[in-house]
Symmetry: C2
Subunit: 369 residues, 2 copies
């Protein structure tokens, strides 16, 4: 990509949100409402430019934004649309700087579109990259915070007009705590903007190219569907992932506690996996996949459930008894697998002290074709 | 009082905190730690000037401060001391103004001393008055908010270095919600500073003269004790209150929920009240006194429990079985009894829809002497 980047077209939005939903690993919220809003913005004349990490001078400021809340709530309580924009403006005011571009905290799910919408309102470009390369449930779980981004001033805004600024915050865990509490008070959906980062820092720490990657995955799924090819195989090929289970959902437990959707899904194996049972642990996103009691894929690697018939990514909030799904494991970006990163996003950080992170490597059931 | 006011002396601090504890109506937190801190500040050379509502030009800015949290926690987790000062500085920065003086959100309990401590650090005078004329459990329950003070920018700070700014807040109830959640996250004790108010506004809306009133009540109690006179009678005389019950505590229920101490106390009558039973409802402060099922004193009027032997005010967190107490009712300031005020601090606002506010009038058992 040239340093001038490319303009998002209306025809990009469906594949982008499809690819983002897949990278959401079951969470990140459904991007459908954000897609409709972005489409309206493009139709009403807003230009949305995606620029590469080689763009902008080192000392330009970049704003990280994302929606915060429980995806389960996001289905029924839509954002008003300006939440992240208002949060960015509050950060600019508190920090006394102007942003030159915005970047997504997480490419997975609806947060792929949040910076795009805020950037359209602000007349800023969005950077081709993000802070996770997937979705994660908590604020501190970005490459930015893991590698030392300033924790303040950040800001959170809701659709009612409330804006709360985190002016000084001891560390990223305190930021998560304050932001989560405020988001719950705001009704479990709100827009969060983090402290300004320099472009020099973002170049070193962002997961690169993930807007384009989501677009590429989305196009792959849509092309395979149109050509009546096997969607799962096409996705494995484009992502370098592996098929770890195929099964029917026999049990789903899900509850909304402390602003998170927590629970698990149990799957009974079919096809090559007949006679086996799988369990997937969930905190907004899919955390760990066990097959017959053995951990097979675990955070930070991606666990993706695709509908076996349509190839549609199945998010946590729509999991239900009887669905037939392919469970894919995709390797996360190396920036998320360092010792520093695993301390924040590895299995232990999610409450599985018995699991030492084992990255997925070669696909166990390689795609044909 | 002249417009230059008076300097607080070390010898004022004991009577001031005693009077403030009494006006705390069972809540507001114990002023003891704040008294020790203020004494150190005076001993180390800080001048603390108390100025009247006739001071300062109309367009001077006044900052309202107070500790926020559950008094029960405040016993064991002391404030570091700079919480309110840091909150005031954050408000000044967010609003782009400098304060000319500070005023207490509530004169009752430890918040009588919070603005004095912050003012000493900031080198500012404190105003002789407050926003309650007593103590109340929630942020919006001040004459300032009731009569239209701006709800933003406010700020909350803790002892760890966290500072959260409420940059835009829809109304005072949202401010209470955000501030309460942040205070709970901060460990249930924190310093809160509200948006700058003009002196013209404060002159119209503050409960006047309450720093001096607390001093006067404290001196009265100490003088009566020294002279071995009846403390309860002396307090009734100086406050214009009445004696509504005398009894022994037979039951105390108290739990910490959502940052508040909630519960009730049951008293079995002695002396003139032998054979009667009283019940006092509590949310940090004493809310309603029933005697034999009949409501006798209710918010916003003050319900004060004094130790029958020492005349010491008994706060919610030290109520216990077997204590012998005099239950006094003191009339609240007229600014707290208007229709506007009762909507925020009347019995209905505290969850007693069946109680229409009846102000206390003539003392039912007049003090002799």
């Amino acid at each position: 990509m040239s340093s001038k980047g490319y303009l998002l077209k209306e025809s990009d939005l469906h594949p982008l949100s499809l690819g983002a939903a897949l990278l959401g690993t079951g969470g990140g919220g459904n991007p459908y409402i954000g897609m409709l809003r972005t489409r309206e913005l493009i139709r009403s004349g807003h230009e949305i430019r995606v620029i590469g990490l080689d763009s902008l001078p080192d000392d330009a400021f970049v704003g990280e934004v994302g929606g915060i809340g429980a995806p389960v709530v996001g289905i029924e309580k839509f954002e008003e649309g300006h939440e992240c924009y208002h949060a960015v403006r509050a950060v600019e005011e508190a920090a006394g700087v102007r942003m030159s571009a915005l970047i997504s905290a997480e490419i997975g799910g609806s947060n792929s579109l949040e910076p795009i919408i805020a950037a359209a309102y602000a007349g800023l470009p969005v950077i081709d990259g993000d802070g996770m390369g997937r979705a994660f449930p908590e604020v501190q779980m970005t490459t930015f915070f893991i590698y030392g981004a300033p924790t303040a001033p950040g800001a959170i805004a809701d659709e009612k007009g409330n804006v709360v600024v985190f002016r000084k915050v001891v560390d990223m865990f305190w930021l998560e705590r304050f932001a989560r509490d405020a988001a719950v008070a705001m009704g479990a959906t709100a827009g969060l903007a983090s402290a300004p980062m320099t472009m020099e820092f973002v170049r070193r720490t962002a997961v690169p190219g993930t807007v384009s990657e989501a677009l590429r995955i989305g196009h792959t799924v849509l092309d395979a569907r149109r050509d009546r090819r096997n969607v799962v195989e096409a996705v494995l090929k484009v992502t370098g992932g592996g098929l770890y289970f195929t099964g029917k959902i026999t049990d789903v437990r899900r509850e909304l506690t402390g602003g998170f959707a927590r629970g698990h899904a149990i799957l009974s194996g079919i096809d090559d996996f007949a006679g086996s049972e799988a369990r997937i642990a969930i905190q907004n996103e899919n955390l760990v996949l066990w097959v017959d009691g053995e951990p097979k894929v675990m955070v930070p690697d991606l666990i993706v459930n695709l509908d076996l018939d349509t190839g549609e990514p199945i998010t946590t909030e729509v999991l239900r008894y009887g669905q037939r799904v392919a469970v894919l494991g995709l390797p996360v970006h190396p920036l998320m697998k360092t010792e520093k990163a695993l301390a924040v996003v590895g299995p232990k950080a999610f409450g599985y002290p018995e699991l030492a992170f084992v990255p997925i490597a070669a696909p166990p059931a390689p795609a044909q074709g």
